[in-house]
Every structure is written in structure tokens, then in C-alpha cells.
């Protein structure tokens, strides 16, 4: 075991997999020599050579397409898109190609590439460094979508993503790269050093894709979250003294409906959350499915805690970001209903 922040944990996952499997290669804009603008691919080029960890031209469609071609030839490419906000030029290659090649060739070709990308707000990133575009990807049959909330999960899930026979879109909440975040703007920066999930095995391990975790047990209300909001939801429950059960989803496609349904059937109340804008977000899928599965157990309408239906603002970030107050309001609303 070692103390790692999320960056180090992701770097360790790549290191472990590149060590084990010569077909694993890593590339992206600034991801080679420099080691990535967030340092996730640091030292990989030095350790594994120029052709296993390299810089890519600034063309996200070409980066995804290169990964597809390489994966079709049997490599395990781990491509980085510098910010999730910039994944859109690569969207056609993801929607029309990466996700469908197994299907449209009836399994003759498979392209199990991993696309890593930092996402999420809370960092004064403004419109193009804060987005949470996961719902665009959960809507695509054929890709798995993963978003960890801490260093331990980040490493285990990235290793699982690299080992997955399917393509994986791997979102990394950059707000959590250096430390946990409970949603209080202006507070002191926390460190993963004192957090139990900052203890990370140095060698190989993996966490199952498609499996959620109850990170806080409770009886009164279920809160479903992923990424940064897992920590925000936990902190909100603590602060308000609400006996909430908080579920860290970890995988969005396919999401773990069993764990959610078991919890909601116990608590009878549910809050779903996402940083992204509300309309057609992933929380809407969660709410619909929970309603279908748990209708007779529900004692209140499901509440959504989300970003607003606006582009992500710069100056008014803390009025946009779904912080602990919004969680507390939502939990109270379902408890009082």
C-alpha cells in the first residue's frame, strides 16, 4: 500500500498495465514527453519508450480513430482527451465507429480502446474546462462509461477498463485529482493523504465495471451520486445529520441497478444527482429506472440535484455547482414529502 492522490493512482494503473502487457500504449495531446497537463502519464515515456507513450496531434477525432485502428490490430490503446469539454470533435468516431464495430461486424472486429478524459467543474474552469458530458456517452450502445471518485477506485477501475473487452469512456473528475472535495468553495484544499481511499496498492488489482458501492449506510433516504458529487453528498448528509445512504455508482454504463434498487426499497426515498445540466442528464435515466423498479416502495417523488440548464459559468461557479446545500434541500424535500 502507498498513499496516492488520484493522479498518482491513475499513473500507477497505466504503469502496472504497461509493465504487464506490451500491447498497452498511451497517447494524447501533451501526454508523452511532458507526461500530460495533469501529470497522469508522467514518466511513462521515460520508462517504456517513445513508441509506447507518445504525443498526439491536436485532433481529437484523429486520436480516437488512431485508437480504433490500433485496437482493431490487437493493441490496447489508452487515449487521452485533454478535457472532456474537447471530446466533441471525436464524437463521430466514438458514436459511429468505436461503439459499433463489434456490433456491425457481428464480432469479426473488436476495438476495446480506453478513452480517458478529465471532466467536471469546481475548479474555475469556465465553459470549456468544467463540463460533465457523461450523458452523451451513456446514450451510446456499445461503450462502457466509468467515473471514479477516489484514488483507490480510480486505479482499480482504470485497470479494469484496460482489461475490458469493450471500449470504455473513462471520466476523471479533475476536481478530485489532488484531493477530496466536499463542495465548499474557498475552503482549505484537502489531501488524499489522510483519506482511507488514498491508500492504494502498488501492484495489480481491479474493480468490477458495472458495480456500485454503498459508501455511507443509512435508513432514511438513498442518494445516488458519482464522481465529485459522491463526496459532496456524503458531507451534506453529515452536516445536516440526515441518515442518508449514499451510493457511489462508479460505472454509468452499465449502471448497477441492483444496488440502487435494494437501497431505495429499504429507504423509500431517493435523490439522484449529477454535475451536468438537468434536462436529459444521466440522473433522468436513474430517476426513470428507479421509478420503474421501486414504485411501490417510494414514499416521495424522486428529487434531482443537478447543474442548471445553462453553459457552465465562470464567475458564478458556486451558484451553478450542485453543492451540499442543494443536497440538503433535496434530502429534506423527500423526507418531508
Amino acid at each position: 500500500m502507498a498513499k496516492m492522490n488520484m493522479i498518482q493512482a491513475l499513473n500507477s494503473a497505466l504503469d502496472v498495465m504497461m509493465e504487464r502487457d506490451p500491447d498497452v500504449i498511451s497517447f494524447g495531446e501533451d501526454a508523452g514527453y511532458f507526461g500530460g497537463v495533469f501529470r497522469v502519464t508522467a514518466n511513462l515515456q521515460k520508462k517504456y519508450g517513445l513508441d509506447r507513450s507518445f504525443d498526439a496531434p491536436i485532433n481529437e477525432a484523429a486520436i480516437v480513430a488512431m485508437a480504433i485502428g490500433m485496437a482493431a490490430k490487437g493493441l490496447k490503446p489508452v487515449a487521452e482527451i485533454q478535457f472532456a469539454d474537447y471530446i466533441f470533435p471525436g464524437l463521430d468516431q466514438i458514436v459511429s465507429e468505436l461503439s459499433r464495430i463489434r456490433y456491425r461486424t457481428a464480432g469479426q472486429f473488436t476495438v476495446p480502446a480506453v478513452i480517458r478524459t478529465p471532466c467536471g467543474g469546481g475548479i474555475r474552469g469556465g465553459q470549456t474546462h468544467s463540463m460533465s458530458p457523461e450523458a452523451f456517452f451513456t446514450h451510446i450502445p456499445g461503450v462502457q462509461v466509468v467515473m471514479p471518485s477516489n484514488p483507490y477506485d480510480a486505479k482499480g477501475l482504470l485497470i479494469a477498463a484496460i482489461e475490458s473487452p469493450d471500449p470504455v469512456i473513462f471520466f476523471e473528475p479533475k476536481r478530485l485529482y489532488n484531493g477530496p472535495f466536499e463542495g465548499h468553495s474557498g475552503g482549505a484544499l484537502a489531501s488524499w493523504g489522510n483519506h482511507p481511499k488514498g491508500e492504494v496498492p502498488e501492484g495489480h488489482y481491479s474493480l468490477p465495471i458495472g458495480k456500485a458501492e454503498v459508501v455511507r449506510e443509512g435508513k432514511d433516504v438513498t442518494v445516488v451520486a458519482y464522481g465529485t458529487l459522491v463526496l459532496v453528498a456524503q458531507a451534506a448528509a453529515e452536516r445536516a445529520g440526515i441518515d442518508a445512504e449514499v451510493i457511489d455508482l462508479k460505472t454509468l454504463a452499465p449502471y448497477d441497478i441492483e444496488t440502487i434498487a435494494r437501497s431505495v426499497k429499504k429507504t423509500g426515498r431517493c435523490v439522484v444527482s449529477q454535475e451536468a445540466p438537468r434536462t436529459s442528464g444521466f440522473a433522468a435515466e436513474l430517476a426513470a429506472q428507479i421509478q420503474e423498479e421501486c414504485f411501490y416502495a417510494l414514499e416521495a417523488p424522486i428529487q434531482r440535484v443537478t447543474g442548471w440548464d445553462t453553459p457552465y459559468p465562470h464567475a458564478h461557479e458556486w451558484s451553478y455547482f450542485p453543492g451540499p446545500d442543494r443536497f440538503i434541500n433535496a434530502m429534506n424535500a423527500v423526507l418531508e414529502a
Partner: protein, 409 residues
Amino acid sequence: MAQDAPRFHVPAPHARPGDTPDFSHIEVQPAGEAKRPDVAVPGMETRDLALGLIGVLDHNHQAVGEWDPKLDADVLREGLKHMMLTRAYDDRMLKLQRQGKMSFYMKSTGEEAIAVAGAMALDKGDMVFPSYRQQGMLFARGRDIVEMMCHCISNSRDNLKGRQLPVHYTWAEGNFFSISGNLATQFPQAVGYAMACRYKGESQIAASWIGEGSTAEGDFHGALVLASTYKAPVVLNVVNNQWAISTFQGIAAGDAPTFAAKGLGYGLASLRVDGNDFLAVYAATQWAAERARKGHGATVIESFTYRADAHSTSDDPSGYRPKGEGEAWPLGDPIARLKNHLIGLGEWDEERHVALEKELNELVIASYKEAESYGTLHDGPLSPVESIFEDVYAEQDWRLRRQRQDLGV
């Protein structure tokens, strides 16, 4: 002198329906004139080849000049046969589509040399990433015709389980990558594939084909950037058949000045070749493949040709181009030209040609009969309905399992 007010420019073709076909603006460099450099030549030094036109067969159907690949008569006859089969197949499939036997079809009439010579000049182990108009490659690589037809009529034997539109073939065993409806997407994928071949230390290369219209897509640029940056062993073909559905090549910056020349800006070797000249396409592909295999990087090849028939069975070209434009095309017909070349060599004659045509037509008819015995789109049997939920992922997750139950299969 009064100056015209500057206005924005929208190019238009030289002739529209009702006009006399006009290709007088097309300059054809005489066959045999182009120099054939060493395959190690720096990309920029192929400038004359990118702006000219590599041709081997001259007006008398003789093979001339440095690009003559000097193929055995057997190879030429094989090429001729694959091209004739491609045309016979296309003609039959069009008829069948008109009879309602399949939903859709796309012919490659006039472009058979590009697919067939391209495939024959590559190794069978090289991975091809074609567009939807290179069906000739499948014949050149020995794909079973019945299997091709089963795909087109989406029956129980369709190797794609009825999931793709007709002509979107995939044949992994034949190193024929999946055809996508999304244009140009496979161009940068082929570069990635080629990079992986090099990474693994294999001699295999990749090749891809897109139309001139699709060069306007961002993926064309992306592919050339990747190919240039990583010196990938890939052959990037632009089939310039003058028409992207109803839009002429000028709508894809085709007048500025050639599609091959676009490769020069990326430092890639760039050739422009007479696409209706089997020998020229063969020679250019062979050159580019050798260049790739020896580690000198990628080549862009523009094959200059004409889309002699409709874009697809959903298209009627009389709405946008003059009647008889195909006959006016200065580079003629690829099958007729290779046939005449072989006859000139004393290696072929009209009788054998007619007999082969008959044999191939019968083969195509018999193949369809057999294909139909495995089912048709309208009357079945199709692949089992539950197969729509398979191959989305390696394993079906709960969502797909439940949806399959919802469908009751």
C-alpha cells in the same frame, strides 16, 4: 474601368442536364510520360506526379513508360475477370433491387480498375479499409459471391446478421475491414492500424479508400496529419469520380488543383493516376505499398475516374448532370481498355471475352439462386431476432437482457 463588386464564389460544373457533356477543361497527361522515382523519394519531390497523371495504357492500348508494371498475361486476365465479375455482379444486383429483392444497392460501374488493381497490387495480408464503392476488392481477394449476396439480402446467412445496409461488407478473414456509412471515418483508422502493424514489427500495411467528396471531411485531414507525423505504412486513396451524389468535385475544393496535391502539404508522397487504367492503378499501388513496407511512409493516391452510374439505387443522376457524360469521359472504360490491351498482346480475343461475360453472368445468376435459398429480406428466414441484442458488448448486461425479455424473444 469599372470593377465588379466582389461576390462570394460558388463553383458550378461545366455542364448540367440538357447541356452537351463537356470535359474540354480536363488536361490528360499522355500515358508513359510520368517519371517513376525510387520509392524512397522525399514526399515533396513527387510534386509533378501529384499534378500530372500517371498512365500506362496509351491510345493504342499499348503499355508504355516507366510505370508499366510489366505484369504476366495471366495476371492481366485475372484482373480483367475480376473487373468483369464486379460489373456483372453490380448489374444483377441493381436489377434485383429494382425487383424489390433488397432495400438498397450501390454500383461501382467505371471504377472497377481502382478496386481490383488496388487489391491485386497489395498483399492479401494487408488490411483494406474501403469505402462502399470498392466491391471489386472482394472479388480480387476471393470472397464467395453467395456470401456477398447473403449480406445484401440480409438473410439467415448474412455474416453481419442483418445489421448493416446492403454493400456494407465486412470480411475479417479476407482482411477487409468494416464498411461504415459515415464518410471518411475509416481513413484515420487505417493510419492507426498501420501504426500498430509497425509497432508490432510486422510487414503488413494498411490501405484506405474514400471518394473525392469525402476529402472535405475533417477525418481526411486527420488521417494525413497522423500518416505524416508517424510515418505510418499506409496507402491513402482518393477515388475522384467527379461526383459526390449530385455535387461535382469542385464543391470539395477539387479545382485547387488536384486531390493528390493535397498530400504534398503534409509532406506525403502523392500520385495522381488514371483510374481507368488497370496497369497504372496497379503500378501506383505497388509503388506506394513498397514505399510503406520499406519504412518510407505513406502515399496519397488520387485515382482519376468517372462515376458512370447513379450514386445509389436512391439516386437519379439525370437531375444534375447531362445525359451521355459517361461516354464523353476522356479516360474511357477500364474494362474495355484492359481488354483491348490484352487483345493487342495476342493474349485475349472477342470470342473468349464474350464467353467469359456469359460465364460470369451465369455465375452471378446461379449464386443469387443459392443465396435466396438461405432466405430473403422480405420473406426470411433472417438471423434470429434475439441476435439484435448480441455483440453490442462482449457480454449482454442487464439492460440488454431485460430488453430482450421485453421483446419476448
